[in-house]
Symmetry: C3
Subunit: 131 residues, 3 copies
């Protein structure tokens, strides 16, 4: 097992919210991740951008964390997204298809009230890329 | 890793909604699946049946996808269900116990606003059957 | 694959609600679990305590189930929590940090209407402890 902690900038952002859970944990070929929302890694604030921006920032932050452990968004096999407004699905769907490269990962999208932000995303990754 | 794409009929239904995520991805002995709702594979429409029908159609569609890769509902280890109305739990519970054979898989059921339909289900399967 | 059934007391509580899904299923080094809420294992009733109590009872019940299979909360790698009121996040966060020992598992928290209770938790565990 390897426990992955956020990069220094992400850790500082999370400390602000008293978040201490692991960023990711590796077991065998699988990496499970904590859910994340769109935290700006420069200001440590939750993004006040629109849903498209928030979705993109969240996925790009996952990309940065994955890069820290030698992986990329190409290694993601599953994306679970929660939207505060399910009517934003088509916007989220566009961002998903723009940020990831085909063949796309699996995905589940549902609505949910969220602690902060308009989208909460969790991912599962593996050591072998999809592409 | 093996990426599983929907059967031709399911793919046509999903294309209608601009859905491009993988149907399932295999890593080692595990298969993770995208969440699905009750899409009628003949009409490509979301089922307008009641919640019992929608739950049954969704699970049966997973059964068809599993059959395509040489597995069955007996290989499912985990079911995550989201209901637009949690008061439908007992109906969903009946369908779950009717469609699956004991010993039953793990399951989590919560409420959620959904993009379409009244139930969204995702499953995790493995290469060894429960039964 | 090993299918884990609840202890006698938990099974009796679940039978009351006609719940027949597996408590946990092991595949390789991973254990997936069914979602649970705060069921009092003495009265078989859903806890009528406040959210802090419900969160603690639910995690402690997972601890009992894990102990039955030779594991502990130290073997949990992922926690998915659903709160009926996302404003309870800080209370849930405190209980999480009190019940688990660092390094903490991964976690995702979202809001959701629930079938019963104010918190529904599911966990993923592995054979190797975090600590």
């Amino acid at each position: 097992m390897t426990i992955v902690h956020s990069s220094a900038s992400a850790a500082a952002a999370l400390a602000k919210y008293d978040i201490k859970n692991a960023t990711a944990i590796q077991v065998g070929d699988l990496y499970v991740f904590s859910g994340m929302t769109a935290i700006d890694l420069n200001t440590f604030e939750v993004s006040d951008g629109d849903i498209a921006t928030q979705a993109r920032v969240t996925l790009e932050n996952f990309g940065l964390i994955l890069a820290d452990i030698g992986l990329s968004l190409d290694h993601v096999i599953k994306v679970n997204a929660h939207l505060t407004n399910v009517d934003d699905f088509s916007i989220w769907n566009e961002v998903f298809q723009d940020v990831f490269r085909p063949p796309y990962p699996c995905r589940t999208t549902v609505g949910a009230p969220l602690v902060v932000g308009q989208i909460e995303i969790e991912i599962t990754a593996t050591t072998e890329p999809r592409v």
